[in-house]
């Protein structure tokens, strides 16, 4: 895997909101078939980072390159969110669940395949007359949706409004919907938030399986360390918008900077942290 070009490579990304520098000079890579986690305390800039990747924010500086199997190298930082999802096939979920609450679970999954179906419906005219090609496309979309419903074990609630489902189920539906959009890079923003331990364990197994079987890259923002440590191939730690550590879970676990960022510093690390803060004040 390591021999090939990374799926995603971020180069000195900076995102500034007025006087606040939410992300500063961040460089990292994510590979296909692997789970890359982005962790850090609250306000570290993780979600901002996702918004920069997926075209919801335009980064102040730096670039985000995606190696797409069909389109070659894409500059995600210059693309609008719709195109990031449609052309780049980078699909994201949201920290606060964003399903279409009054529509059924199955409809949610069909909307994820909107572009394929819309094309098959030829400006709705072929669709209106149920042409053969449109019927074939919608059957295929339905099959795809059912596959993912089964996979995320939400098949039995396919015809229920998504907003009526319990929180943990909605999280799973959101992942199913994202997978229906046929991603090559899946960005999950705190998928384990609000899940009980059993559901978290299932999620861990699922994410590993998805990255291995589908060969897609998964980028994960997560606070639940039991999930992160088990599932990640590679971890990037952010604090105050800056990368403070990077590496496989085993080294991250032992990294004193990471521990101090999360737990507050003890006497030994405090001086180092102060120095870092001074540096950021100058910058």
């Amino acid at each position: 895997m390591n021999a090939a070009k990374p799926l995603l490579s971020v180069e000195s990304l900076t995102m500034q909101f007025g006087g606040l520098r939410a992300i500063e000079d961040l460089s990292m890579t994510a590979r296909a078939g692997e789970v890359t986690s982005v962790i850090g305390p609250n306000g570290a800039g993780k979600t901002t980072f996702f918004n920069c990747l997926t075209g919801f924010y335009k980064p102040t500086r730096g670039c985000v390159k995606l190696t797409h199997p069909h389109h070659g190298e894409l500059r995600l930082d210059a693309m609008r969110n719709v195109h990031v999802a449609r052309v780049g096939q980078v699909v994201r979920t949201f920290q606060n669940i964003r399903l279409f609450p009054r529509m059924t679970v199955l409809e949610n999954l069909m909307i994820a395949q909107h572009n394929v179906l819309q094309e098959a419906s030829r400006l709705s005219i072929a669709g209106m007359f149920r042409s053969k090609s449109y019927r074939r496309a919608s059957e295929k979309a339905m099959e795809n949706a059912l596959t993912w419903l089964e996979r995320l074990s939400v098949r039995d609630i396919a015809n229920k409004p998504a907003g009526d489902m319990p929180y943990g189920v909605q999280r799973r539906v959101e992942i199913a919907r994202a997978m229906c959009a046929d991603p090559i890079l899946l960005c999950l923003d705190e998928p384990a938030a609000g899940l009980n331990p059993r559901e978290s364990a299932e999620l861990t197994a699922l994410l590993t399986a998805l990255s291995r079987e589908q060969g897609i890259g998964i980028l994960l923002i997560e606070h639940d360390m039991s999930v992160v440590m088990k599932v990640s191939d590679h971890i990037v730690v952010l604090n105050h918008g800056k990368k403070i550590a990077e590496g496989p879970p085993s080294t991250i676990k032992a990294n004193p900077d990471v521990i101090s960022a999360y737990l507050g510093e003890d006497d030994e690390t405090s001086s180092r942290h102060e120095a870092a803060q001074e540096k950021s004040a100058h910058a």
């Binding site: 949201f94 529509m103 409809e107 069909m110 572009n115 419906s121 709705s124």
Partner: protein, 428 residues
Amino acid sequence: MSSTATQEMNLHFRVKDALGAAVVAGLVGLPMLGLTTRDGASGLEVQTRWALLAVFIAVAFTGRITLQMLLQRFRLFSKRRLRARPTSELTGNGSLVWAGAACVTFAVLLPALFAGNRYVVDTATTVLIYVMLGWGLNVVVGLAGLLDLGYVAFYAVGAYTYGLLSTHFGLGFWQCLPIAGGLAATFGVLLGYPTLRLRGDYLAIVTLGFGEIIRLVLVNWGDVTGGPNGISSIPKPTFFGLPMQASGDGPTFATVFGLDYSPGQRVIFLYYLILVLALLTNLLVSRLRRLPVGRAWEAVREDEIACKAMGINVTNVKLSAFATGAMLAGFAGVFFAARQGFISPESFTFSESATILAIVVLGGMGSQLGVVLAASLLVILPELGRDFSEYRMLLFGIAMVVIMVVRPGGLISHRRATVRAPGGEAKP
């Protein structure tokens, strides 16, 4: 489950189902059959016909049960339907379909039921215009969730297109219909484009302004639109080229079919014309709703940001909703101009927009049948109140408040899914 238990349950559901049909029949029948107007000593008088209404409801009840029994007997009802009954989200579904079918049947039979009563057919025509407008606005407000307070502008565009093209260039009703639809859709896109980034209240204000702009242009551009005097002597639609008049240059409808001419023929013809247009509208909208574009409308209503993250071009989705809604209003406008024979900016004031919006909200956002019920209510209630005209708007307002308190989601707030997963407990 033993067979007797199944049968008992069948009977239970059937009675409940038939009761539902009876209630709907009662609601529909009350204004149409239960109340009638006669020429009395002092103008029109309202009379009640409770016996007829009771018969109508009884027929609906027994007819529904018999139909169910027959279908069961001939195995047309497969088992899955009965199995699906108990799930709560589906119980309302079947009866809604039946209520829709009942409404259509009633609408088709209406001129025969009220033969010679021109007033009823005329009022029903007005109801159908509002039904059509309601279905059009439903696309914009109910499905795409874009609050449009200037919808009447597109209605006006349609009406004036026909008015001007027919009086100046002699184009006929059927030629003008697509032109007006296209023009109204263009205006829909023109309005839609600058408002793409607006939501909720802000969008409502801009659309309100747009509606007023169109009306003011109509009032002030006297050379073209006739200003406040409007356009008069707009030709009536023809029946495949046969005019509906006493005598003409060529053959007329009456001569070709060997009938004696009567003005009532035209009233009934106009009624059926708007009925066909409305049914086509319904077919179009309900088909579109099940297509990707319709699902995208609803998805944009639910969550725009999630749509963008799924790679859906929200701009196109919103513009298509505006265009579709506007086109349908344009069609209705052409019919309106043709029916009235005279149009002026007076007919396209904000209160019209408000009425149409009230129909959509009252009926239940996104519900096709709800629009029919609400349109009937909103047109017939003021008509019934003609005798006590001072209090009519007051009663009308109270009725609307009561309905919204009792049913906050509108008369029919049930949302039908556009696709259903096969198998499992939830078979369609």
